[in-house]
Symmetry: C2
């Protein structure tokens, strides 16, 4: 795999993806969006206890990479809600395979339905 | 999703998996094992330029979680080689879906064959 200046680490599709969502929180945010969460405070209610600074940073990063979009639902004060873009929704199969793996090897993990993935 | 003491963050299968491989390097190591890399120094030859301390820590962590196994192939000095366990190989579909996603949204990323995934 030759290095090219177009990619941060390499043109490997795994490396490119991990540079975007390769952390403990980004896919938790994506998961919550799939589940219907859209407003800032509602992400903070998830059982993983995301902190506000992590949430704000991840939302900004994911928006910057085009995985989510932001729109105002209220003025004075302005409040935003978030939604998956087509590109973000396209991560659904990745989430599904991760869930299958964890369900197989970690008994007691939740087995979600995949209506929205 | 109720919290339980059995899981670090939550019984969500995504959270459980991300606590193991949710970083920029673990799946790169898994990828290289799928590609046939098995010896310490050979992981360091990948284009992502993994450092020795990151590699050593990830190998130890992945072995601790049962995703890879270690065996000596030489004595005096002892040298180890690494291989995916059944549990580690079971991450193949996750890697494949990540590759499909990146290939679709990042033109120029490599399109690997999936003989081994």
């Amino acid at each position: 795999m030759p290095k090219t200046p177009d990619f941060k680490r390499s043109p490997c599709p795994l490396a490119v993806t991990l540079d975007i969502v390769g952390d403990k929180w980004s896919l938790i945010v994506i998961r919550d969006l799939f589940r219907g969460v859209s407003r800032y405070n509602d992400f903070l209610k998830s059982p993983e206890d995301m902190t506000t600074n992590i949430l704000a940073e991840r939302l900004k990063r994911l928006e910057g990479h085009g995985l989510i979009s932001k729109s105002a639902y209220q003025e004075n004060p302005v409040r935003h809600e978030y939604a998956l873009t087509k590109k973000g929704r396209a991560l659904g199969p990745v989430l599904r395979e991760i869930v299958h793996w964890a369900n197989a090897y970690y008994p007691g993990t939740i087995k979600p339905s995949f209506d929205k993935l």
